[in-house]
Each structure stands twice: as structure tokens, then as C-alpha cells.
């Protein structure tokens, strides 16, 4: 990997939102392709963030400032990626389920996924089942990711999966779930395709599920 990409990954990891766009531009000026800058610079940096967050070496503030730096770089890179038809790692519809107002966990998952090259459609908090189903019809994502912090809102995950089935789109997407009271067992009970205990694991899960789908 070139020096500029190494430095870009380092600055992103450090959450340096001023240096990241400068380095993105510098990498492009040196003739690197937008895909190289994305994958070997920004995504490489966010991958380190994800691993260290999962291992308890960095914490939520460090993840947020790294994601902010990623955004600063993507502002330059995104139009170029579109122009050069670089495909995203996958498309994800993301939301906190109906009745639940918590969004930090969901946002962390969204940031980590975006930082790993996924395209995110964030439906926000308190998302009714029908809104997930409509979003799947509209955006045709690879994944639906749902979050719930409260035991009382967890049934909203099952209702959302049912809504996807009723809308005839369940077979088109993989469904992953997470949140404080959510467990692997609960995920299986409601017919989800996967469960992740934290944001970094959600990225690995998404990569595995989208990878499988693309091979199938």
C-alpha cells in the first residue's frame, strides 16, 4: 500500500477530520483510483477502528470521531465513486424498531457499516414495520438491520419480519438484529438471519451474509 494510503488510514483512525479529505485529494492527485482510496485508505482505517472497538481498546467517542473523519473523506470521494461505477459492499436498510427511541447503537452500526463500504439507508428511530417493508421495496437492499434497546420493543423485530413476509420481500433480503436485550436465541426464534452483539461484529456478519448472497 502506498504511503499516502497508510497515512490516510492512520489519520482516519485518529479521527482527524481536517487531514483526511486533504489526504484523499492527495491520493487521487497521485493517480490512485477512487476505489483504491476507498478500500485501502478509508475502509482500511475503519476496519482497524472496528477491530479495536470490538476488542475494547477504543471506545464510542473514538469511533464517532473516526466516522466523522470518514464522512469528510467520503464527501470528496463519493461523486467519483458514482462516476466510475464502483459498487458498494452492499446496501443496508437500518432502523430502530417501533416504540424504541434509542439511536446511538443503531448509529454506531450504521457508521461502521458505512465505513466498511456499505450503502446505508437509515430509517431512524421508532420505525414501524410497514416503513421497513416500504424501504425494502423502494431501495432493494441486501440487508435489513434492526435495533432495539428495550425488552418491550423487541417484539417489533418479529412484527417487522412478518411485515416483510406479507409484503412479499422477505426472501429478497437478509435480516440482522441487535441491541441490549437481544440474543442469538431470540434472533433465531423470530426468524432473523443473524445477530451481532456489537457494531464491529455487525460488519463481519453483514459481509458474510452479503458475500453468501452474492455467491448464491
Amino acid at each position: 500500500m502506498s504511503n499516502v494510503l497508510n497515512e490516510l488510514a492512520d489519520k482516519l483512525y485518529a479521527g482527524d477530520a481536517k487531514s483526511v479529505p486533504v489526504l484523499v485529494q492527495s491520493a487521487l492527485d497521485q493517480g490512485l483510483t477512487p476505489a483504491q482510496v476507498l478500500n485501502d485508505g478509508l475502509v482500511a482505517g475503519m476496519d482497524r477502528v472496528g477491530v479495536d472497538f470490538r476488542n475494547g481498546e477504543i471506545f464510542v467517542p473514538e469511533v464517532l470521531v473516526a466516522a466523522r473523519a470518514m464522512h469528510a473523506g467520503m464527501n470528496i470521494l463519493r461523486p467519483l465513486l458514482v462516476q466510475s461505477h464502483v459498487a458498494s459492499a452492499g446496501k443496508v436498510v437500518l432502523g430502530t424498531v417501533a416504540g424504541d427511541l434509542h439511536d446511538i447503537g443503531k448509529n454506531l452500526v450504521g457508521m461502521m457499516l458505512e465505513g466498511s463500504g456499505f450503502e446505508i439507508i437509515d430509517l431512524g428511530i421508532d420505525t414501524p414495520p410497514g416503513k421497513f417493508a416500504d424501504a425494502v421495496k423502494t431501495h432493494q437492499p441486501h440487508l435489513v438491520a434492526m435495533s432495539a434497546l428495550l425488552t418491550t420493543t423487541m417484539p417489533g423485530m418479529k412484527r417487522t419480519i412478518d411485515a416483510l413476509t406479507q409484503a412479499g420481500v422477505r426472501a429478497n433480503v437478509k435480516v440482522i438484529v441487535g441491541g441490549a436485550p437481544v440474543t442469538e436465541t431470540f434472533a433465531r426464534e423470530i426468524g432473523a438471519d443473524g445477530y451481532a452483539p456489537d457494531a464491529a461484529s455487525a460488519v463481519e456478519l453483514a459481509r458474510a451474509l452479503v458475500g453468501k448472497e452474492q455467491k448464491a
Binding site: I58, F59, V60, P61, G105, T151, T152, P155, P181, P197
Partner: protein, 376 residues
């Protein structure tokens, strides 16, 4: 369980203290809760006590009620906690002149729904700059100790109250906001330090104003520090910003020969900050247990010779298990945790309005069956 009320309650906070300090084996199962949601207490009062519920009466829970209403409200709480078998009543503080926090609202999906459920706007708090810090009414905000005085007038013999406030969580949810704090730690670290210093002192001043009351048994401080897999902040930041204040609150309680109980959600084990809480802060008891993080039975095994465990019945299980599963689960906790003391039974977090009332009554019933079985 047809009637959750004891015929002859015999609250004994002094014994609860001795049990939690490990100075004696419990003679009965002592109960603890940080909070029982109002909808739950109301259902119990109306269904089993035959009393009309006296509402708080304030426009919001943190705002003062009309004159006279607050005392009647707390008097009913004393009666309920007493008849249910608790040794204390948890009493919250009132912050007068505090700007209204930002809130989001959604339909409440709980069994005993309150119409809508509110939660903080996690995107930002009341202070996001030095200008807003300067304009914030720090000097006007006062802690009102009236609830303690109301409760003190109605406590039966043997019963005490615990006093509670939050420091870190108040900053996280209201003053700086989640994202606000996380970004400001990088962008304006001095502002963060100053907000922590100001609010830390406010909470200290409140505790100092009530800890000397004879009827106050303990500080039951409430501050969630993390989530399922970690703490929000690094141990380094917690040690710089949060734990020095915890240490002051604990020292204040100890100076009055009272205990410092800490309610703290989140995984405080994998990065070792539990050791800070036990050794540096010198908490006497920890409350809030989630089985997916560390079951209370495991906590008792690891730390039970140094600190007491409060509660322990996992919220998800309390909310979702049927009776056939819930009873043996609660018994298994009591079997492990009661011998040797340093334990009191209760929910892992709170008796929220989404906990089926029957399941809460099963928890109470199991504590009494254990007592009746002669194991204690």
C-alpha cells in the same frame, strides 16, 4: 399470588445493612429496587390495596407538584413499599429551575402502557459550546430536598429512605447529550471538564444536604456507564472525569456511617473498571445486572467477598419468562447469592411498566417462599 402485601411487615434497614456488609446471614430475603414504575405501583395500589392512586401532580416527574400533593404522593409510596416488604423507600431529588431537557416521544408498547414513552434526544444536549455553558443557569439550579422531608414524616419504625441522583448520566442525557459529549471530548475537552466539575458539585451538594438526616439510610447513586459490551468512555476518561466524584459521594456517605450503593448499567468488567469502583471509589454495593453481561450469580462468585450485589433478576427474563421458568430461575439466584450475605433480591434494573405485573408478584412470592421454607 393473590395478595402481594405482608400481613405484618417488619422493615429492618439496620439488618439489611449488616447483611450487605457481610456481617450477618440474612434471616429473611431482603428486597431492593432502584425504581418501580408508577404504572406498576398504581396497579398494585388499585388492585390490592383498594386505594385510588395519588398522582405526582407535577407537569413532569422532575418538576415540583402542587402544594401538598408531593407529600401525599410520597406517603402512599411509603405505604406501598412498607406493605410489599421493603426496608427502605427510594427517594429522588428535584432539580428546581433546571431547563427542560430535550426529549423524543413514541407510543408506549408496555403491558401497563403510559400512552407514550419519552427518551432523550441523543443527538445533542442543552450545552454544546462555551456560550451555552456561560448562559446556562448554574447558580439558579437548586436541589430541593422536600421529598426527603415528606418521606421522613411518614416512615414506620425500622424503615429508612435511600437518596438518589445521577451525575454522569445526567450530563450524558441532558447537559451535553450522547453525541455532544462524545464529540466534545475531542473538540472541546476543557468544556467537558468544566461541565463535569459543575454538575459533580451540584450532586455533591444535594447529597451533603440530606445525608445527615437520620431517616436517610444510604446513597443509592444511579449512573449508567456503558452498554452490553463496553463502557461508553475509556477507563482513562472515567478515571479523570467520573470516578473522582463517585469517590467523593461514597466518602460523604461513609463519613456519616452510611452506605454508598451504585446503580450502574453496562459492561464494567471487560476493561476492569469494576476494580476502580470497588477499590478506589469504595462502593458498598452494586446494582444492575444483565445476564448477557455478567449474571449476578457469577458476580457473587467473583466479587461477593468484597462488595454486595443488589437485585439480579435479569430484566429480559423477568419481562418474558412464564411462571414455570421464572420461579426456578429466581430460586437459582437465591440459592447462590443468599448464603454469606452481601445480597438482596430484586429486578436486575427496575420494575419497568413492561414487566408483567404477575412476574413481579412472582419475584416477591419467591422471596417469601424461600423464607417460609426455612432456608434462611
Amino acid at each position: 399470588m393473590t395478595n402481594p402485601f405482608l400481613e405484618s411487615p417488619a422493615p429492618n434497614f439496620a439488618e439489611l445493612e449488616r447483611v450487605l456488609r457481610g456481617e450477618q446471614e440474612p434471616r429473611r430475603v431482603h428486597l431492593v429496587e432502584l425504581l418501580i414504575d408508577e404504572e406498576v405501583l398504581r396497579a398494585i395500589a388499585e388492585q390490592h390495596l383498594g386505594q385510588a392512586w395519588i398522582p405526582w401532580g407535577g407537569a413532569q416527574r422532575w418538576l415540583p407538584p402542587p402544594p401538598g400533593q408531593g407529600e401525599r404522593y410520597y406517603q402512599q409510596l411509603v405505604t406501598l413499599y412498607y406493605r410489599l416488604g421493603y426496608d427502605y423507600v427510594p427517594v429522588s431529588r428535584l432539580w428546581l429551575n433546571h431547563p427542560a431537557p430535550r426529549r423524543r416521544r413514541a407510543e408506549d408498547t408496555a403491558a401497563l402502557a403510559r400512552g407514550e414513552r419519552a427518551w432523550v434526544d441523543e443527538s445533542r444536549g442543552l450545552i454544546s459550546s462555551w456560550e451555552e455553558f456561560s448562559a446556562f443557569p448554574w447558580n439558579e439550579i437548586k436541589a430541593d430536598g422536600s421529598p426527603c422531608e415528606w418521606v421522613a414524616r411518614h416512615l414506620p419504625p425500622g424503615m429508612k429512605m435511600t437518596v438518589q441522583a445521577s451525575f454522569f448520566e445526567h450530563i450524558l442525557e441532558n447537559l451535553l447529550g450522547y453525541k455532544g459529549l462524545f464529540y466534545l471530548l475531542r473538540d472541546e475537552p476543557d468544556l467537558v471538564t468544566e461541565v463535569f466539575a459543575r454538575w459533580g458539585q451540584k450532586v455533591y451538594d444535594y447529597y451533603a444536604s440530606v445525608i445527615g438526616m437520620e431517616q436517610v439510610g444510604a446513597i443509592f447513586h444511579g449512573d449508567d456507564l456503558g452498554f452490553k459490551t463496553s463502557t461508553f468512555l475509556s477507563p482513562k476518561d472515567l478515571r479523570r472525569l467520573v470516578f473522582p466524584w463517585f469517590k467523593k459521594y461514597a466518602a460523604l456517605a461513609h463519613a456519616h456511617n452510611k452506605m454508598f450503593w451504585l446503580h450502574c448499567c453496562g459492561n464494567i468488567y471487560t476493561n476492569g473498571v469494576i476494580e476502580d469502583l470497588i477499590e478506589e471509589v469504595q462502593i458498598d454495593a452494586l446494582h444492575s445486572f444483565q445476564d448477557v453481561i455478567l449474571p449476578v450469580t457469577e458476580f457473587k462468585t467473583r466479587y461477593g467477598n468484597r462488595v454486595a450485589a443488589l437485585g439480579g433478576v435479569d430484566m429480559d427474563k423477568l419481562a418474558r419468562m412464564d411462571e414455570a421458568s421464572l420461579r426456578p430461575y429466581i430460586r437459582s439466584i437465591m440459592n447462590t447469592c443468599i448464603p454469606g450475605g452481601r445480597f438482596a433480591l430484586g429486578s436486575g434494573n427496575s420494575v419497568a411498566n413492561y414487566v408483567p405485573l404477575e412476574n413481579y408478584l412472582i419475584l416477591l412470592d419467591e422471596s417469601r417462599c424461600w423464607q417460609a421454607s426455612g432456608k434462611v
